[in-house]
């Protein structure tokens, strides 16, 4: 790795030494994948378990900092809900949106049999 000094290289790799990665439990990974409606191949699960585990381990660094008494921030600047007026406006988007449907019959979107 040219141009990157050694201390940087060391510090950036310190938590990710190859061969000794913290892995998230495979069962947990498949449960999470199922909640996220993701299909994972065996190989993919292998790689992602390592990558997810590495990030989760890194997230645990947040335990070090004292956040006692601090409210969670959901939005940096948004203080209140800003509602628009409840009025009728025209929108001609429906047809354009339908044109992007992968399979369609007239104005119906076709999916495989539910039952």
């Amino acid at each position: 790795m040219d141009r990157v000094n050694l201390s940087l290289q060391r510090s950036l790799t310190r938590e990710g030494g190859v061969g000794n990665l913290p892995e998230v439990d495979k069962k947990e990974l498949y449960t999470t994948a199922s909640l996220a409606q993701l299909e994972l191949s065996e190989q993919e699960a292998e790689r992602l378990a390592a990558a997810v585990g590495q990030m989760l381990e890194y997230f645990s660094k947040m335990r070090e900092i004292d956040v006692e008494g601090l409210e969670p921030t959901t939005h940096a600047l948004l203080k209140t809900n800003r509602l628009r007026e409840d009025i009728v406006v025209e929108s001609a988007l429906a047809d354009v949106l339908l044109e992007n449907a992968p399979e369609r019959e007239d104005r119906f979107i076709v999916i495989p049999n539910v039952l």
Binding site: V4, A33, Q37, V52, M62, I65, V67, L70, N100
Partner: protein, 471 residues
């Protein structure tokens, strides 16, 4: 505006357009900044807003620009550089874009990005590879890498990008151009494909501070179509000369970036600005808090991609559930899957307090520390990324290392404040960018500071850049 006048000609006649397309084609065979380029595409979305912005006299009238391909422009595709959305025709135009079009500016193409904006190299794009115009073996940065590369090569005077954790500023720094991430909500997000809603916004990569300011002023403002949009309310206050906060104890920077950072501090002092050393003790918690929040929001936002109403659909599926799973398996790349998985994990019942809620409280601590830093200074000068543009593959940075390197940029997204990356110097043939950060709504301070800097250190161009063809 002087710098833009030569750009006004390039779409004015078919002969001029040919010269333009020729210059772009030559560069594109080497850098691949665009996913779509067509200076003739009629800007269908260009409907005047009906306000008093006269198009003929507007300085942006007739000026070509590009938009990152996660920003909707009617008449173009909207792919997010993902197989999931390949070929999707954009049904409408983002507010930020239509305001520029109303001023007379013309979209000429859509630029490459990391898939759904997730990455720091543009290499996670499923639809094309973009190279750094300064060195083709290196990445242009990301996720708005195509926008930054296009501006650096002189293919457009500005290009829109989006910045969730540094995605405008980091590629701007890697490519030696200006990159503005505005205050959260000041530019409407309507028409930006959502990744992490509480962090991201549309901003601009530009050839100069003046162009960045002009585009920002044209795009910004309350939008009824984005309920998180806010009015721009600058205090108008700033010390003259500007008081600049800089980081004292620097570590984990490459020699190049550290060298340029120290030189820049010296220079701004010579330029008459006041320099104060500050410490940001929360800096080391920025990346874990940022990725917890960003992935949590991503897992919710990307749930909409299921292959039913639009997007990739598998050739065959037994039932709707299989259709959704296969669509997502085939449609998403691995980095996107990783972030969806992580985000789903940190939001699972039983883990929420430990990860997501904790990250939001850390976010408060980061905001508070930044706010208190700004009580004594007008702007902060920070590095953008610990290294200059890195090489692809094993010689570069791993995806995990790239994430760790987001600490300087993601701070601004967590706090909602604006940041401007600017070219601070060229070392061994590669540009090094730094950034100014300001309190919310104080973009003008960023422009002022960067303009002063450019008087002493003008931005340079990569070899092969030319403005001759448009003179």
């Amino acid at each position: 505006m002087e710098g833009l006048s030569s750009w006004r000609k390039v779409l004015s006649s078919s002969q001029a357009k040919q010269a333009y397309a020729g210059y772009v084609r030559e560069w594109e065979s080497r850098i691949g900044a665009f996913l779509e380029f067509d200076p003739d595409r009629s800007p269908i979305g260009a409907k005047p807003l009906g306000d008093d912005r006269g198009t003929a006299s507007h300085p942006l009238a007739g000026i070509p620009f590009a938009a990152k391909d996660n920003i909707a422009v009617e008449g173009f595709s909207l792919t997010c550089a993902s197989r999931m959305l390949e070929g999707l025709a954009s049904p409408y135009t983002a507010t930020a874009v239509s305001r520029l079009q109303a001023a007379g500016a013309v979209v000429v193409g859509k630029t490459n990005l990391d898939e759904f904006g997730m990455g720091s190299s543009t290499d996670t794009s499923a639809l094309g590879r973009t190279s750094n115009p300064w060195d083709r073996a290196r990445v242009p940065g990301g996720s708005s890498g195509g926008s930054a590369a296009a501006v650096a090569a002189g293919l457009v005077p500005f290009a829109l990008g989006s910045d969730t954790g540094g995605s405008i500023r980091q590629p701007a720094a890697f490519c030696g151009v200006y990159g503005l991430k505005p205050t959260y909500g000041v530019v409407s997000r309507y028409g930006l494909v959502a990744y992490a809603s509480s962090l991201e916004g549309i901003g601009v990569v530009a050839e100069s501070t003046a162009v960045a300011r002009l585009v920002f002023e044209t795009m910004r403002g309350l939008d009824p179509l984005d309920h998180s949009s806010v009015d721009h309310q600058p205090s108008g206050e700033a010390h003259s000369p500007l008081r600049v906060g800089v980081l004292g104890g620097l570590s984990e920077l490459s020699v190049e970036v550290e060298g340029v950072y120290r030189q820049a501090i010296k220079l701004i002092r010579e330029l008459g600005m006041t320099v104060t050393e500050i410490t940001l003790s929360t800096l080391e918690y920025v990346v874990p808090a940022y990725y917890t929040i960003a992935t949590a929001e991503a897992s919710a936002n990307l749930a909409r991609f299921n292959g039913i109403r639009y997007g990739h659909r598998p050739a065959y599926a037994e039932n709707p559930e299989q259709l959704v799973r296969t669509s997502r398996d085939e449609g998403f790349g691995e980095e996107v899957k990783l972030r969806i998985l992580l985000g789903t994990y940190v939001l699972r019942s039983g883990f929420q307090d430990q990860y997501y809620v904790r990250a939001q409280r850390v976010r408060t601590a980061i905001r508070n520390e930044l706010a208190s830093a700004f009580t004594g200074v007008d702007v902060l000068l920070l590095p953008v990324f610990p290294t200059p543009a890195f090489k692809r593959g094993d010689e570069g940075l791993s995806p995990f290392q790239q994430k760790l390197a987001d600490r300087f940029t993601a701070t601004a997204n967590l706090a909602g404040v604006p940041g401007l990356a600017f070219p601070a110097g060229v070392i061994d043939g590669l540009p090094v960018g730094l950034q100014f950060l300001a309190p919310a709504f104080e973009e003008e301070r960023l422009f002022r500071a960067a303009e002063r800097y450019a008087e002493a250190v003008p931005a340079e161009h990569p070899a092969g850049y030319s403005a001759e063809w448009r003179r």
